[in-house]
């Protein structure tokens, strides 16, 4: 069998503009390049602006993760201005971020991912008819429930910040809101609605308490076979169908994972500094190296960006984000031996390329590094090991596992608010450097800000998608999605659904475009399939 050529442009259902070039031989991808195809220049726009401009501008980088950007922007200024943040405000920021992610899980699962289970490729699966009944776009019974219910959690965001998306209610020194008992009661009731109308009956097929008993792969298997409700829940159904159609067989990636940690503790991070951050997060930071099965803490000093293969005129050295200058080059020709993306290649100074995202968070959650009081959950790490490492299926499973934990954290915020205590302590502006980090639904997010003469001198952002869709680095090492695409089967070149599965399992904030190229000559072949 010779080289097959095809062109998928775009894959869709990932946000933004991304091209992926794949070379295909004998029905398998043998090489891949990811390239971001949109440049808006937010870092350029922010130069010289008000120090607080990031609070307004950066949520607009991504309307899907706007609350997470706002979180980073606020903590970045908090560390630069050496503020004090009252515990109510820490909880209110955490709650906003949590409900944004809880919103994202059903919206992602039904809206972006599960639709592909109704693809005709799977019509011979014994799960197919049921998948169509549940997950068909717009008309599927659970698609409609899932997409509609996804609007509920962010009502809590609106109670705090007035609206979702795009509020700027988090500010250095605290938050703008001061909720009343009415707001808190409404928030409780919204959470309850979400739980009793979707999370328990449709998604889990059991109570949160029963799901929380699952600690290991074997526990999950026992749960799955315990009764029909578990097997027939969307979670149980997805697990079974995913294995039946082989989603556990491809889409691995770089095998090393990163999370900055998130949800600062309301009593431990009231005087935030960059240095004290790791020891104050409820969800700990870390790098998990699956090759050596080791966990270490993550810190911003380990981050490097490389633009050797990106459309920037910034040299070929690895630089820390504080030292980036964001100089776009005018002619963004695709040169697969040179620059081919607006994304930079992000690296860990020791570990190299890392995958960011829910899988990374859950693998790190299974580590015993960090503080003794920090969150620990070994379930996904156990699944990862028992299933022989990463795949589309494991990544997808990690994506949805977090929801019950975050639900409990949201309840905790509501319990911990002390409504008559302060929500804001007015800070003093000063020059300096700040760093804010968190975990957006789809992975690690960081802002670096440098303030000089009362204005922004430099603002740099590394989004989860930057980690994942980055192009080759100076050593010509592939980025995580590029690596995850290599080796995947493509059964039907007219409908390369497998490429979509991989791209969507990363839940990237980019719209993928996939080009196919002749593996031997490297030239782009006909726009339409010729094989």
């Amino acid at each position: 069998m010779g080289t097959q050529t095809l062109d998928i442009s775009p894959v869709g259902r990932v946000e933004g503009d991304l091209d992926v070039r794949v070379e295909i031989e004998d029905g398998h991808v043998v090489n891949a390049w990811t390239h971001a195809e949109l440049f808006r220049g937010f870092e350029v726009i922010l130069r010289g602006k008000d120090p607080q401009a990031g609070l307004i501008v950066t949520p607009r980088i991504c309307g899907i993760c706007g609350g997470s950007h706002l979180t980073c922007a606020s903590w970045a200024l908090d560390t630069a201005w050496e503020t004090e943040v009252p515990r109510n405000a820490i909880l209110a920021r955490n709650l906003g971020q949590i409900v944004e992610t809880i919103q994202s899980i059903p919206r992602y699962f039904y809206g972006l991912f599960a639709i592909d289970l109704t693809n005709k490729k799977y019509q011979n699966s014994r799960y197919y008819n049921e998948a169509v009944r549940r997950f068909a776009a717009f008309t599927g019974k659970h698609y409609e429930i899932g997409v509609t219910i996804s609007a509920k959690p962010v009502e809590i965001y609106a109670l705090l910040g007035g609206q979702w998306p795009h509020s700027s209610y988090m500010v250095p020194g605290g938050v703008m809101c001061a909720p009343t008992l009415t707001d808190i009661t409404r928030a409780w009731s919204i959470l309850e609605y979400f739980r009793t109308n979707w999370l328990e009956p449709v998604w889990l097929g059991c109570s949160l308490e029963r799901y929380e008993q699952i600690q290991t792969y074997d526990d999950f298997m026992a749960w799955l076979h315990e009764n029909r409700n578990h097997r027939q829940s969307d979670l149980g159904f997805y697990w079974r169908m995913g294995l039946d159609i082989g989603l556990d067989k491809f889409g691995g990636g770089v095998g090393k994972y990163v999370t900055w940690g998130y949800l600062p503790h309301e009593d431990k991070y009231q005087k935030p500094t960059i240095e004290s951050r790791n020891a104050a997060m409820i969800m700990k930071s870390g790098v998990y190296d699956s090759y050596s099965d080791t966990h270490t803490l993550m810190d911003h000093t380990f981050a490097r960006e490389n633009t050797t293969n990106s459309w920037y005129d910034e040299g070929t050295a690895d630089v820390h984000p504080f030292d980036r200058t964001t100089n776009p080059i005018a002619k963004n020709h695709k040169d697969f031996n040179g620059a081919y993306s607006w994304s930079s290649a992000v690296r860990h100074i020791e570990y190299g390329r890392l995958e960011a995202g829910p899988l990374a968070r859950q693998l790190v959650a299974g580590g015993t590094h960090g503080e003794s009081w920090q969150h620990y959950d070994g379930f996904i790490l156990d699944v990862f090991k028992r299933m022989g490492g990463p795949s589309v299926h494991v990544r997808q499973f990690a994506r949805v596992h977090e929801i019950v934990k975050l639900y409990r954290q949201a309840e905790r915020c509501l319990r911990e608010f002390k409504l008559n205590e302060p929500w804001y302590i007015k800070p003093k502006q000063k020059d300096g450097r700040g760093w804010g980090a968190t975990e957006a639904a789809r992975g690690s997010l960081c802002h670096w800000v440098e303030l000089e003469d009362g204005k922004i001198k430099n603002y740099q952002v590394i989004a989860p998608t930057t980690w994942n869709v980055g192009p080759r680095d100076a050593e010509q090492k592939r980025g995580p999605i590029e690596e995850a695409l290599v080796g995947i089967p493509v059964a039907d070149p007219a409908d390369p659904i497998e490429v979509g599965h991989v791209a969507r399992s990363f839940d990237s904030c980019l719209v993928c475009t996939v080009h196919a190229h002749d593996a031997k000559t490297g030239e782009e072949l006909a726009r339409f399939r010729t094989a």
Binding site: P10, G12, E144, T148, S150, E155, N332
Partner: protein, 320 residues
């Protein structure tokens, strides 16, 4: 059946996310109850690859009717007018917009980026972004002053960062059900039904505005955000406080100053140092007053209002 084709240029997907929050009708209701057929949407569309390219070309060639072209995000012209910094399906997105605007019965710009250029078009506008028919307050934009869609209307602008889901779904339903004739557009092509009143209309802090009782710092349940914190609610056209966001609240109700995001100038003062969350004043008087209010009358009103203000106007108003 009404065919809707939704594309994104220099966008953040915020309007799509807002659209997905719609409840009456929901996104699924649009399809099942109002005869809307989503030909394609970047987050929701089924087709990929050559199927989508084929569909787009069939739309351009008139083989598939495009009843409504929805555009989210800016039209990116960089570098040097080529649009190569935003490529989609093998072409600069601006070329798709050009071609599709010629065949669309209605064109709807959703959000500030598509209407005025929004944040990407802020100085120095590195992506050379434009709105579809405006750049900030300046008429013309990417499609030009004289552009009319096949139904004879200019681009229908639904601004906001993001646009409220009701503004989006109600306009789509109005078109699908033949009621677009009931909609009047203002000089910025905004449907007046949503954009005639001010953001302040319905704000729970109105009584503090009336008595000139200010919120000087964040995290307060009392006071008006206009006097110190830069709230633009009295000068901004929107229905945010009449229909509420996510069914529950609004920025000003929650304590966040309105940023004026439905107006072409957003973000105001280009976020220059000292302008963020701070009312711009001259000798203690706000530089900008509600439209039609004279400085002298305002000063008089201030004296009277402060004099008449009851003590509770300065107390914690919405108690726990």
């Amino acid at each position: 059946m009404t065919n809707v084709l939704w594309l994104q240029g220099g966008a953040c997907s915020g309007n799509t996310m807002s659209f997905l929050n719609a409840e009456e009708p929901t996104v699924c209701d649009l399809i099942s109850d109002f005869g809307i057929n989503v030909l394609w949407h970047p987050s929701l569309g089924l087709e990929l690859g050559e199927n989508l390219q084929g569909m787009l070309w069939n739309c351009v060639l008139g083989k598939i009717p495009v009843d409504i072209l929805v555009f989210e995000g800016t039209v990116v012209n960089a570098p040097n007018g080529t649009g190569e910094w935003n490529r989609f399906a093998h072409r600069p997105m601006k070329n798709w917009v050009s071609d599709l605007a010629k065949v669309a019965k209605y064109v709807v710009a959703i959000g500030d980026c598509a209407t005025w250029g929004g944040i990407p078009a802020m100085a120095p506008n590195p992506s050379e972004s434009q709105g579809l028919q405006f750049l900030k307050r300046q008429k013309g934009g990417f499609l030009g002053v004289d552009y009319r869609s096949k139904a004879g209307l200019p681009v229908i602008n639904i601004p906001g960062c993001p646009a409220h889901p009701d503004w989006i779904t109600q306009i789509l339903v109005a078109i699908a059900t033949g009621r677009i004739g009931d909609i009047t557009l203002d000089e910025f092509h905004r449907p007046q039904t949503f954009f005639k009143t001010f953001t302040q209309t319905g704000c729970t802090r109105n009584i503090h505005f009336a008595y000139k009782a200010t919120t000087a710092e964040f995290g307060q349940r009392k006071g008006c955000l206009f006097y110190d914190l830069g709230c633009r609610g009295p000068m901004t056209h929107s229905s945010c406080n009449r229909i509420l966001w996510n069914r529950v609240s609004s920025k000003t109700r929650a304590g966040m100053p309105c940023l004026g995001c439905t107006e072409p100038e957003f973000p105001f003062f280009d976020l220059k140092p000292g302008t963020v969350f701070k009312t711009q004043t001259v000798m203690g008087v706000p530089k900008e007053l509600p439209p039609g209010v004279k400085q002298k009358d305002y000063a008089l009103l201030t004296v009277v209002a402060k004099d008449a203000a009851p003590a509770w106007a300065d107390e914690d108003f919405f108690l726990v």
